[in-house]
């Protein structure tokens, strides 16, 4: 059975390797549009910050992939998909037949349609190529502006600051990482990063990128002009669905998949950030890898079912562990808050009807699993003060 995997990000690579291991007599081919070997995208921030070399990021050397039974082809971009013929066509016109196709096309960084957005020096922060371009510009020093204070934007900002640039983050909301953090945790984070020289302008919107042959500044909606020889746009991602849509697969925001990661075409699976499952996208590596495992099992004819756990985000932002899960807006829930000024620790739990419905942990995330379980179980919590102090106190109270 010919298994063709399009996209060599973490999900695609994992799925290819597992399919090779599990599907009898499978011929697995893994296509990558990038030239590099499969690498750890999550670790791009280390490369940017100078804590790792490119070689450290490679997760699967060619030889290893070959040993595992995966044919890896780099620099191969797919242009079209003929489902009836079960053939994909590369940009170079090559036709690659398949018995089962796995789409792992990932997502692209959103580029705001601003005046000047195409200027040289305006970059996304998505892949190895972006990081290499950032490092080239950073080597000259000067000012950088990161548009977007999400996780990736902050990683870009800390990396560039570590490289010696004067970095300003422009964020649309009042605090960074607003989707994972509540305002207070976000405030702690921006304060902490501020001590490393990163300036935050929040909330603020960018109206234009200015410069002639190269970007020179960022114009904000209040008229301010921020000098910048490098602008990183990090305002979100969009699933890469063009191939699937053109082939007539069911596509909403992402490629719609069932619990076994099958698309609307039973011969085509999709995994990772390009998928949409029960109306939801994913944006983190952990569920993407889970999806890859499920798809590989399904390819092997096993009953497989992906059960997303409630949203949770365990992140390390420039050395600070943060974690959040469930509902983290205080609108309808009661909050229990723990703060430790010296340790720079903070946690906020959200309860409704005596049940834990959401949590934000900043600094110490050791109890993340415990809270995750409580959120999932929806059990009424008796001792609220102990709850926020952590599982060790709950056990003693019980």
């Amino acid at each position: 059975m010919k298994v063709l995997v399009v996209g060599a990000g973490p999900a695609g690579t994992r799925c290819a390797v597992r399919a090779a291991q599990r599907v009898p007599r499978a011929e697995v081919t893994l296509l990558s549009a990038e030239l590099a070997l499969p690498y750890d995208r999550v670790a791009l921030s280390k490369l940017l910050a100078g804590e790792a070399e490119v070689a450290d990021l490679i997760t699967h050397p060619v030889a290893e992939l070959a040993t595992l039974g995966v044919t890896f082809r780099a620099g191969v971009a797919v242009a079209a998909l003929d489902r009836a013929a079960r053939v994909v066509t590369t940009q170079k016109g090559e036709c690659l037949p398949y018995d089962r196709l796995v789409l792992a096309t990932g997502s692209s960084a959103v580029r705001l349609p601003l005046p000047g957005a195409e200027l040289p020096g305006v970059l996304a922060y998505r892949d190895l190529g972006d990081v290499r371009a950032m490092l080239r510009l950073a080597a000259q020093g000067g000012h950088a502006v990161v548009i977007g204070g999400g996780l990736l934007g902050l990683e870009a900002a800390t990396g560039l600051a570590a490289r010696g640039m004067k970095v300003t983050v422009v964020h649309a909301m009042g605090w960074p990482m607003d989707r994972q953090l509540d305002p207070e945790a976000g405030g702690l984070l921006s304060t902490r990063l501020g001590r490393r020289g990163i300036r935050f302008i929040m909330p603020a919107a960018t109206v234009a990128l200015e410069g002639e042959r190269h970007v020179q500044g960022v114009r904000l909606d209040d008229g301010r002009l921020l000098p910048a020889s490098l602008v990183v746009m990090s305002v979100g991602i969009r699933p890469n669905v063009a191939l699937a849509r053109d082939a007539g697969l069911e596509v909403a925001r992402g490629v719609v998949v069932d619990d076994a990661m099958r698309s609307s075409d039973a011969a085509i699976y999709a995994v990772g950030e390009c998928t949409e499952h029960q109306g939801r996208l994913i944006g983190l590596v952990k569920p993407a890898l889970e999806q890859a495992e499920v798809a590989a099992a399904a390819l092997a004819g096993e009953a497989a079912c992906w059960q997303p756990v409630p949203d949770s985000a365990a992140l390390k932002v420039s050395g600070t562990a943060v974690w959040s899960a469930g509902e983290i807006s205080a609108e309808t829930a009661e909050a229990i808050i723990l703060r430790d000024e010296d340790a720079e620790e903070y946690r906020r739990l959200f309860l409704r009807d005596g049940r834990l419905v959401g949590a934000v942990l900043y600094g110490d995330t050791a109890d993340a699993g415990y809270y995750m379980r409580l959120i999932a179980e929806q059990r009424v919590v008796e001792s609220r003060a102990e709850l926020v102090l952590g599982s060790s106190f709950m056990d003693a109270a019980a």
Binding site: E341, S392, A396
Partner: protein
């Protein structure tokens, strides 16, 4: 090593003090034979008191002794000129030494010419004095402490001996253990710790004691046990009433008493503090007189005093209704003899105002000058709100005290620094008539001086030279007074001391009076006695639909008076660290354990934390009288106490005030632990007390928004360069915070919607830690270790043993007091906690039926 006498209760234990202030029981003293209680054991910790008054002050400013004494003399002179002798007064204390007492009495009656000198003994045992005088013609305690050990039946009436006179209680318990046939009966509305030793507890209603002993007298007569005695027929005719007790218990009591010739009936404030206190004393004495069981080994009525020198005050006559040295106006020739002896033609000619009357007169503007010594009437008097107002109205209020931090000293215009225990030098007399020396072993702090010296200095300014060069001279004069107007039937006789030289005084060993000749040692007394009719009377103010409960006030094991001394000793404060109102659960209605409750009478109110206690009799509530403005302003109970008094003794009825108890809704309850005392107006309700390591505990409750109160309290303890750990659960009303600097704990602030908050002891212990690690910081907010059990209260003060550890020892197999002691050391120190350990043992036995 200095031999001295403990300054707390009327047992009058001998102590040995070493150069460093370590205190041990004196094995050679007859009262205690080496024993000490929790308070006495902690005496060494009270020597260096913060807040000592070290210099005279006039109108709030430091003044020289000369200027201050001039001001006092001028104040008395003006009052005498404007209102005559009876517009002047002294209010003194059973804390004074006999010599100071003597000087005060002489100053009032001879120099000022008024008998307006009363003592806080009025609150304590004035009824016993009056009872003695009616029965014996003189204020005599016939028995000695050994009687408690030699008796076959000991009846404790209105006495929580276990807490208030722990050393005597231990002697009693030891005797009972040695002679198991000995019986103890406790007559008390409350099931007190003393019931631990009781074979029978008679929970009389407040005020029923007369009916009980009338019933006993009738029974003794019916059984043919009475012998002819003056007044017996009249007493029998008046001996009506039957207390509302279970018939079998009452019958058993009468049977035991009748069948036991060696019987001691010991009575204390529970009997005395009543509008029928004198009748209670006489109803008790009647039974002993009628059966001849008096002044014999193991037999007699026994009044025990609360204060270390109440007896000394009675001996010198420093009460408004006494003259001096058991001399009396009513006995022809005695007044004249004293006037001549003192060279005092203006010697007061009639009794003066007793305490309650005195402050009522002051409230009415009839007192121009009052000198208060070593007592705190602003807190301790009934209807204390009115007393406070009266003190404020006196043009010249002088207070002599060793502490600056007393509610009364605060109100005084002139403040004179007095010596405290360990500094002053003189004698005291205990409840068994034993005169003992209190000796100084410490230098006088600041400009503090003996009270007798200050008194004689003012006297000098008013034209009187007392001519004393020290306490020995005063003691000799006191002894000489007892020899006046003789021959007489007066038993009180110190003739043997009139020629005691200074060296003999310095070396004086404990001596029981009468001492008619040098070297004599008094024994039991068999005075000429009469029975007194005691028709039962109800308490003056009856409970009613509006005020359905009877308030009783009293004492705690580890506290003394208004806490000016014991309140500064952390391990004494640990026993009962909050002002509690005890109430039987059946009376609680909607009131919950731990909630704040307002005790309200027609005179005033106080707010205390409610403790539901099955040991209370239904219909009565109990509050300790110790708490003051300095510790718990809202919990001062005496403003609520009725000013009713016994018509003969003038002793206030502190054991019966009709009250109602209402819930006090609070938005939050909380506590603050900090390294310094914070003001007592932190919240609507507050109580503060010192803990070990210089930490102060503040128990609080408030009606403002919890989050706002939390912010306010945090701001109050905030310090630069310190960091907070906080927990906020606004929806539940829970707010907790700990403040640290470099890992050292500076303060904790806990607020909750209910009184259920983590135990303070464990948190307080963390103030001793040099460095609290990051990982342990959450435990601060939990109030306990992550995997630890909740901490529990301290039971054994001497060895710092908690209830939890004692329970652990019991669970581990300890079945007796001794075994608990072996396992934990609890109860092996002063022994004051043994009743509570026994209660834990008993509870464990109930929980685990055989």
């Amino acid at each position: 090593m200095t031999r001295s006498t403990c300054p707390y209760c009327g047992v009058g234990c001998g102590v040995l003090v070493d150069a460093r202030g370590n205190v041990a029981g004196d094995p050679a003293h007859p009262a205690n034979q080496g024993r000490l209680c929790s308070k006495g054991t902690a005496l060494g910790e009270t020597l260096d008191q913060p807040g000592r008054l070290l210099h005279p002050e006039v109108d709030g400013k430091r003044a020289s002794w000369d200027a201050a004494l001039d001001a006092v003399a001028e104040g008395f002179r003006r009052a005498l000129a404007e209102g005559g002798p009876d517009s002047t007064a002294l209010y003194v204390s059973g804390q004074l030494l006999t010599e100071d007492y003597f000087a005060a009495n002489k100053f009032a009656k001879a120099v000022l010419g008024t008998a307006n000198i009363d003592s806080n003994s009025r609150l304590c045992m004035a009824s016993a004095v009056a009872g003695h005088k009616r029965a014996f013609g003189e204020d005599l305690v016939p028995g000695v402490y050994e009687d408690l050990e030699q008796a076959d039946l000991v009846v404790l009436v209105g006495s929580n001996l276990a807490w208030c006179h722990p050393v005597l209680f231990q002697r009693l318990v030891a005797a009972k253990a040695a002679r198991p046939g000995m019986r103890v009966v406790v007559v008390d509305p409350r099931r007190t710790a003393s019931c631990d030793a009781a074979d029978l507890h008679l929970a009389v209603a407040p005020g029923e004691d007369v009916a009980l002993f009338n019933t006993l007298l009738r029974h003794l007569h019916a059984e043919g046990l009475t012998q002819p005695a003056p007044g017996l027929e009249a007493a029998l005719a008046a001996a009506s009433g039957t207390p509302a007790l279970p018939a079998a218990d009452l019958a058993r009591f009468c049977r035991w008493w009748a069948a036991t010739p060696r019987v001691v009936t010991l009575f204390s404030m529970g009997a005395n503090q009543s509008s029928a206190g004198t009748d209670k004393a006489n109803a008790i004495i009647n039974c002993h007189v009628a059966t001849g069981r008096i002044g014999l080994p193991g037999a007699g009525p026994f009044s025990i005093t609360g204060q270390p020198n109440a007896m000394g005050g009675r001996e010198v006559g420093a009460l408004a209704n006494m003259l001096a040295g058991h001399l009396d106006w009513s006995v022809p020739g005695e007044h004249a003899a004293l006037a001549e002896f003192w060279g005092a033609p203006g010697l007061a000619t009639q009794p003066g105002l007793k305490a309650v009357e005195l402050f009522q007169a002051a409230g009415a503007g009839r007192i121009g000058a009052l000198w208060v010594m070593a007592t705190n009437p602003a807190v301790s008097m009934p209807d204390a709100g009115a007393v406070r107002a009266a003190l404020e109205r006196i043009p010249m209020l002088v207070a002599s005290d060793c502490t600056r931090e007393s509610d009364t000293v605060e109100l005084a215009r002139i403040r004179l620094p007095a010596l405290g225990w360990g500094e002053k030098d003189g004698t005291v007399t205990n409840s068994e008539r034993v005169i003992s020396r209190q000796r100084g072993f410490r230098p006088w702090p600041g400009e503090a001086r003996p009270d007798w010296w200050a008194i004689s200095q003012v006297a000098q300014r008013l034209g009187w030279d007392f001519g004393w060069d020290g306490p020995a001279a005063i003691f000799r004069e006191h002894a000489a007074v007892t020899t006046l107007a003789r021959p007489a039937a007066r038993v009180f006789d110190l003739a043997g001391f009139t020629a005691l030289d200074d060296a003999g005084y310095a070396a004086l060993a404990p001596t029981r009076w009468p001492v008619p000749a040098p070297g004599a040692q008094g024994g039991r007394l068999q005075p000429t006695a009469r029975c007194v009719p005691t028709p039962p009377r109800l308490p003056e103010n009856a409970t009613s639909a509006g005020f359905p409960l009877a308030l009783l006030t009293g004492r705690l094991r580890d506290q003394w008076h208004t806490m000016t001394r014991t309140g500064l000793v952390p391990r004494l404060m640990a026993h009962v660290p909050e002002p509690l109102l005890s109430m039987h659960p059946d009376d609680a209605g909607s009131l919950a354990e731990g909630a704040l409750a307002r005790v309200e009478s027609a005179w005033g109110s106080a707010v205390l934390r409610l403790k539901l206690d099955p040991a209370m009799p239904p219909g009565s509530v109990f509050a300790p009288m110790h708490w003051t403005d300095r510790f718990a302003p809202a919990a001062r109970i005496n403003p609520a106490v009725n000013p009713a008094v016994d018509p003969i003794s003038g002793q206030p009825e502190l054991k019966h005030t009709p009250v109602r108890v209402l819930p006090v809704p609070m938005a939050w309850h909380g506590f603050v632990l900090a390294r310094r005392p914070l003001p007592t107006d932190l919240a609507e309700w507050s109580a503060r007390l010192p803990l070990a390591h210089g930490v102060w505990r503040h128990e609080l409750a408030g009606q403002d928004a919890p989050a706002a109160a939390f912010a306010r309290l945090r701001a109050m303890v905030a310090e630069p360069d310190a960091a907070w750990v906080t927990l906020d659960d606004a929806a539940a009303g829970t707010h907790r915070a700990a403040l640290l600097r470099d890992g050292r704990l500076l303060a904790v602030v806990f607020l909750g919607a209910t009184p259920a908050l983590p135990a303070r002891d464990w948190l307080a212990g963390l103030f001793a830690e040099e460095r609290i690690g990051l990982a342990a910081r959450r435990a601060l907010l939990a109030g306990r270790q992550a995997d630890g059990a909740a901490p529990s209260p301290t039971i054994c003060v001497c060895h710092g043993v908690s209830a939890g550890r004692i329970a652990g020892a019991i669970a581990g197999g300890a079945c007796t007091l001794a075994q608990v002691g072996e396992a934990t050391a609890a109860g092996t120190g002063c022994g004051s906690c043994r009743p509570e350990i026994n209660a834990l043992l008993a509870a464990a036995r109930v929980a685990e039926p055989a």
